[in-house]
């Protein structure tokens, strides 16, 4: 009975995300759409807190930490978002996006600790979902932080020599590492090497891209975080996370392409464009 209530809350949340996104894409209804999505988010969070598990007095510490985290996050988030200058909005979005990516990566890290105690023979789908969540979440986190730093003017555009080649090699190493963990064995060492490589890749991915192209990159990283959230949803069979995450993943990708079109450029042009000397932009 109560579990159904949880599922219904998630259904409502998913619906508000869809309706919210739809309304956000029209000027007249945009602000209301944002509020609707926020209301749905509140429902999903409150439902998870109250219905997901019977209250267990042995877990007082857990509940205390959850509420503490929610309160701290709310206060810091509100203050930061209220104080930021209008002109500094894009880097703020990037910062919050990075926080979401970090959240997804942290979840993957904890789940991996649990997963270690179970032995699965053959193909381990759960591990794959976890590794992808970790990878995309951390790339999104470090990439967003660099984008934030660049727009704040704290980090200068700088490309390593052969940056694109190094990125390719890194990406190859990441793929090999994931396949190795899936089909050979997965120890914490490989897991944390993957985490490290993903963080470095995020930095090198954003580093050479010119400042003027940053909104496009932030939009791309935004859709990455959406995918990372969706992998988390897949892991738990949580439909609010799955729909919310993947909606942003696909809508974000399309939005990225639309933004490129608005600038009369192609996505590859933006991502590799730094090579052609637009880095000064």
């Amino acid at each position: 009975m109560s579990l159904n209530l949880l599922e219904i809350s998630y259904l409502i949340a998913s619906l508000t995300f869809i309706i919210g996104l739809k309304m956000l894409s029209h000027p007249d209804s945009a602000r209301k759409g944002n509020l609707i999505a926020a209301a749905g988010m509140l429902i999903a969070i409150v439902a998870t807190l109250t219905i997901f598990q019977e209250f267990d007095s042995g877990k007082m510490l857990n509940y205390g930490l959850i509420f503490g985290g929610l309160v701290i996050g709310t206060i810091i988030g509100t203050v930061m978002a209220k104080k930021v200058q209008m002109t500094a909005m894009p880097q703020m979005v990037s910062f919050f996006n990075g926080m979401g990516g970090a959240c997804a990566a942290l979840i993957a890290i904890i789940e991996y600790q649990h997963h270690q105690h179970t032995t699965v023979t053959g193909f381990d789908g759960e591990l794959l979902v976890m590794l992808l969540g970790l990878l995309i979440g951390s790339v999104s986190f470090s990439g967003s932080m660099i984008a934030y730093g660049k727009l704040e003017g704290k980090i200068k555009d700088k490309a390593l020599p052969m940056n694109q080649a190094i990125n390719m090699i890194l990406l190859g190493a990441i793929v090999v590492l994931i396949l190795y963990q899936l089909f050979a064995e997965s120890t914490p060492l490989e897991f944390y090497i993957l985490l490290g490589l993903a963080l470095v890749y995020g930095v090198l991915f954003v580093m050479p891209i010119g400042g003027a192209d940053m909104p496009v990159v932030i939009s791309l990283l935004n859709s990455f975080t959406g995918m990372a959230a969706a992998f988390g949803g897949f892991l738990y069979g949580n439909k609010a996370m799955l729909t919310g995450g993947i909606l942003v993943g696909s809508a974000g990708t399309i939005l990225t392409i639309l933004m490129c079109n608005a600038m009369n450029r192609s996505l590859t042009n933006v991502l590799l464009g730094a090579f052609g000397g637009t880095a000064g932009g």
Binding site: R31, G58, G73, G77, A81, C103, S219, N222, T225, A240
Partner: protein, 105 residues
């Protein structure tokens, strides 16, 4: 190979969701005017903050003496909440700015 197919079969319902939500996401925003690109990006950013639900689930499932999981989970709840709250507030502030324009004309 058989195991991969089995995993897909076990999660068929979720995969349906995944595919349909991908198509829906494309459909929902395909007609967005250029001035709304940034607010929409920001709004979408707030929506993927739903990942905080996962952080809460992790914390609810963690055993109270697993301090590593509790610490990491606590961090995850904080950054996830930052994403949600910051995302929605920033979007609202952006759109507030937009609203004034039609009034003038």
């Amino acid at each position: 190979m058989e195991e991969i197919l089995k995993y897909i079969g076990d999660n068929m319902e979720m995969i349906y969701f995944l595919v349909l939500a991908i198509l829906l996401g494309v459909e929902v925003i395909s007609n967005v005017p250029a001035i709304l690109h940034t607010p929409l990006m920001s709004g979408a950013n707030a929506i993927h903050g739903v990942v905080v639900v996962g952080a809460i689930i992790v914390m609810l499932q963690a055993s109270p003496d697993n301090y590593l999981a509790l610490t990491v989970g606590f961090l995850a709840v904080i950054v996830g909440t930052l994403n949600v709250i910051g995302g929605f507030v920033v979007t609202d502030r952006m759109l507030e700015m937009f609203k004034k324009k039609p009034k003038k004309s």
